[in-house]
């Protein structure tokens, strides 16, 4: 049954899956490593945006609940205008 939002020991496939999801639906740019001194990676920002959009706990991390939500069948139209 769905576990709670706990940080995932994500294997690459989950991480890759999440990155693709965020690129497709949240207009995450390719390079999301922290740059120019930015403390928070773009992936963390986009994760927070997605968690907020779906009413999940906003952690900015790829926790089990967020990954579960990403894997739910859905519409392919982005959640944020590109």
């Amino acid at each position: 049954f769905r576990v709670r939002s706990v940080p995932l020991s994500t294997d690459m496939s989950d991480e890759e899956f999440a990155k693709n999801y965020l690129k497709e639906l949240y207009a995450m740019q390719e390079d999301n490593t922290p740059s120019f001194g930015r403390k928070v990676s773009e992936m963390s920002l986009k994760l927070s945006e997605m968690q907020e959009f779906f009413g999940l706990k906003v952690t900015g991390t790829l926790d089990a609940e967020t990954l579960e939500m990403m894997k739910q069948p859905r519409c392919g139209v982005p959640d944020v205008a590109a």
């Binding site: 049954f1 709670r4 959009f53 069948p73 392919g76």
Partner: protein, 368 residues
Amino acid sequence: YRADSSSNKWPTNKLTYRIENYTPDMSVAEVDDSIQRALQVWARVTPLKFTRIYSGIADIMISFAVGDHGDGSPFDGPNGFLAHAFGPADGLGGDTHFDDDETFTFKSSNGYNLFLVAAHEFGHALGLDHSTDPGALMNARYTYRDVDSFVLPRDDVRKIQALYGSNPEIPDKPEPTPPPTPNACDPRLVLDAVTGLRGETYFFKNKFFWRSHPQMPQTEQFLIKSFWPELPGDIDAALEDPSADLVYIFKGQKVWALNGYDVVNRKSLSSFRLPATVKKINAAVYDESTGKMLFFVGKSYYSFDTNNKKMDKGYPKQVEERFPGMTGKVTAAFQNNGFTYLFSGPRVFEFNESTLMRVLGNKHFLQC
């Protein structure tokens, strides 16, 4: 040019559509019917009119495709993305594509119901974005809903009418009222049922439930059918039997036994030895200290012994006998950390055994 919603709208209320090809999952007639009914969902509440054409370029070109189909938004195989549509514009605008790696269905809740997916996508084709309202048709996630009784939710009606206005033709019979998504902040909110479930607490109202975890301040709201497609809305009661890792959902004479996501058994009220005169219960709670299930009917309650599967003698009794101060009808009930919470309308009575400790509101449990 990517599948994308846009806040545009069509400059005209008269739109054409064309079905370019078909999925092998359904008959041609079933696809035609699903598409036509999905467009009617929006036509019914706006001045929009849809006319089908069979050749040439329509405003809304409808097709089934797999993988990369040349529009810059490739599909991803089974599950995941089910379909997409383009917002109002010339050319690709309005076009709607369905991922034919999915299994589309006409009526059943297996596979993905084409009518529901199409109605959602046509919302985009008309200019709507995704909604954060978990009950909205335009919520991004696919959730099965009963197709025959489908009524466009209020959030969607409000948004499409903001673009195109309402339907000027007064229908000969009044439209069913668009169902609002229950609001945790509504001071008059009367919950249908409450139960624990593996350490969390679920609060049911209409077709929805809120899910609350003891270590997390916020609650999330979901459609019941997004977890359990078989369950109805507007349930009467719910209780968890932690020793059996089961949750029982009650509606009328019917009882569903859940183990996590799975409906593992279907019973009737009589299997809990309630008298035949009891046609429905209003609330139910499992008392961990005694292993008894308490069933509330109006201002009375029954006690069912789960160990020997018998109704305890001398019941029904008045609720107030066991819970002094609980004078109203119990509408929901659950136990948590040794306390028993009895909901009566929007108020919640907290008991420690038979001692009334506090009178609370829903907001004590539901983040507002």
